[in-house]
Each structure stands twice: as structure tokens, then as C-alpha cells.
Symmetry: C3
Subunit: 153 residues, 3 copies
């Protein structure tokens, strides 16, 4: 089963690849490493949710936002690579979580993205990871993800 | 026209490559990827500006600080590579913006660096990017940039 | 003298490699770059210290926490590589420091990790670096480190 077929099976429709918010590109390939720009929980050109964890949002909402954000990363990869079959390994993901004072469950939030990658990619989705608490994020997004992916050239 | 000639044409004088603030090196090459240490808006050995966006500083001031900071990254690359002509591609930039509560325009700030890279390097300056809001930055700097660059060996 | 012998000479006992806090892996190898997941100052399965710099903790305590955290990164590398002798170069370290408002000495804190790497690895420990202030970190940890390491295959 291809990755695209798996996404279908899970009932997942990828969003349009997000347009950069500013003067940069969605992803840049160096050797066989694809560096994907920061992605936010966009769907149909809008953030599905805004606010900080530990304030407007709880962990379950953050988890869902992280999953939505990672779909945007997949949409970028699809756009850049032509097919998600070219992904050899999700190498590293950094998850920035907009965190109100006292919120320390960033890993549980970013699991929304990690769990999804594991489910869809299997072993190729097993990535190194970092989760940190940001003071603020662009457009009041609750999460921003950054991925490095190894691809088949 | 070489990159150095372009910089001259734009009236840009690179600062001295900043000395690390601590126990590390300005850049580290692994394969053909040059990882540049975090740079702040230094000029003549001093920060040109301090403070947080959304508090002491507005977007225009942050934009200028980001441009100043990226000049420090170029100064490091020049020092490490001998010539900026060896730069094949600016691959990824992360921009940390010292953000007061409620400030969410990090991308507009980091554009000060991205716009400059595009102007000077053209296609080779088209990078993946991440902009996040930091609670605090070293020396009360408003922005800190981190770059990964692909070089010709 | 091997790295392991040096650690012994310095009286350093590596902790157990930390188990990921969530749905990811401790490290991921892509080509000859090992991307290590975020590490916290764990020892014997517990954080040795919690709190923010500039609030509960001073620079000396943060410095020590950074050293403890980097031991966890070494433990992961040892687990992944079999021996620390395979480390060719510590390439890049990012240090996130949980920072109370007004704390701007992130570099002095992260030196706890950088100084240790230089002491143990010599030239191979000379890394590019970034130190930033986080609003919050997982489990109220004071520091979180992320490393990229070049290894001999």
C-alpha cells in the first residue's frame, strides 16, 4: 500500500501546500535531505485554531492542531517530491508549542504529529524529536513544526 | 557579478565576523553543509538594538535588526569559506524573535534577513525557514538567526 | 585515550539513555549525520533540577543542568553507535533555556554542555551553537539540548 493509499484509508485529505507567509520557500533540498519550512495548523487557507496551550487550549486541542500542522508538511513534501513514496525517513521534527506560563506538556501536544507520522510511514516515520515551549508563534498559532526528511533521489 | 560585488553595489559593508559569546565555534562544516552558529544584530562589536518586539520595538525595527544579524552570518561564512562564491544554497534559516506577549508577526521581522538573502544570492538564497517567538534572547537581542548553508567543496 | 576512558578519568558516569517522553526515537541517522532528540537533565530517570533561569535557578545551577543534559545525549549516542569513538564531530547544538522575563544569559548556561564537549572530545567537540530562551520546557526542565553529530560509518 502506498502512503497516499494509507492516507485515503485513514480518511485523510491533505490540505493545499501552504504558501509561505513571507520571503522564503516551502522546502529546500540539500543532498538527500529535504528541509521543510515551519508549518502551522492550516486548512483551506486558514488556521483551524489559535491560542496558547495552558490558556485558551488544552492538550487534546493541541494534539489535534499538531496533527493538522503535520498534514501541511506532508502537502509540501508531496508538492516538492511528486510522490510521498520518495520519502525514505522522517529524520527530525522540532515542535514549537505556544505555551502559557506553567504549561509543560509540550511532548503530549507534539505527539499529535509524531503519532500520525508513525501510523502513516511505519518505521520510516520514526524520527528524532524536540518539543519546546514558545512565547508566541506566527498568527497566534498554537503549534509550529519543522521537519527534516531524507528522500530517495 | 560576484556576491562581494553585489554587496558593494548595495552599499553593504560586512561587520567583522562575531566572536562566539561562549565555548563554541562560529560555524561547523559536515560534508557540504555548513552549520552557522546563532547570530545577533552586532555591528562594530555591539548590538545595534535591544528589546522585544511588541514592546520596545516595532516590526520595522525588527526587520532591520534581522538584516543586521544576517550580515553577521555572511561575515562568518566569508571567514570560514574564504569567499562567498562557494555558497551553493542557503538551505534553512531559523529566526528566533524576542516577543512580548501578544506579538505574532515573527515572519515579517525575519523577512529582514530573508529579503536580503534573496536580493544578494538570487535563487541560491531561496531557503526553507522557520520563525518563532522566544521568551528571551542572549544580551536582550531582538532576533537571533541560525543558518544551514550548502557549499561547494 | 578513548572517550570512554576520558569520561572515567573525569569521574563521569553516563546515565542510562533516556527513554523518549513520547512517540519518537532517541536519535535518527541520515547519511553520516546523527540527529539526537531533545535531552533534558535526567539522572536515574528523574530530572535533577526543575525551574526557570532568572527565577528559581541561577546561572551556576543552569550550567550544571546543561552538563547533566549533555550526558544524556552522550548516553543516547553510545546506545546508537556502540562506542563514542565513532563520533567524528559534534556539529551543532541548540540549547533552549527556560527563561524568566529579563533573563538574557542563555549562553553562559549552555556553556555547561559546550565546555564539557570540548573537554571530552577536544577538536571533535568544537560545535556550532545556538542558545535561546524558551517560555516553558517539558516537565519544567531548565534546559533542553538538541545535537547533530557527524559519525564514522
Amino acid at each position: 500500500m502506498t502512503i497516499e493509499q494509507k492516507l485515503q484509508e485513514f480518511g485523510v485529505v491533505l490540505p493545499l501546500a501552504p504558501k509561505p507567509l513571507a520571503a522564503y520557500v516551502p522546502a529546500c533540498l540539500a543532498g538527500d535531505l529535504l528541509f521543510v519550512s515551519g508549518v502551522l495548523p492550516f486548512h483551506d487557507g486558514k488556521l483551524t485554531v489559535t491560542g496558547k496551550l495552558g490558556q485558551e487550549l488544552d492538550v487534546a486541542q493541541g494534539y489535534e492542531a499538531a496533527q493538522t500542522a503535520v498534514l501541511n508538511a506532508l502537502a509540501i513534501m508531496l508538492q516538492e517530491l511528486g510522490t510521498l513514496e520518495r520519502i525514505k525517513q522522517i529524520v527530525r521534527m522540532t515542535g514549537h508549542v505556544a505555551s502559557a506560563t506553567g504549561f509543560s506538556e509540550q511532548p503530549a501536544v507534539i505527539n499529535g504529529a509524531s503519532d500520525f507520522l508513525l501510523k502513516v510511514f511505519g518505521d520510516a516515520g520514526r524520527h528524532a524529536r524536540l518539543a519546546v515551549g514558545a512565547a508566541e508563534l506566527p498568527l497566534y498559532a498554537p503549534v509550529e513544526l519543522e521537519l527534516i526528511v531524507q528522500v530517495n533521489l
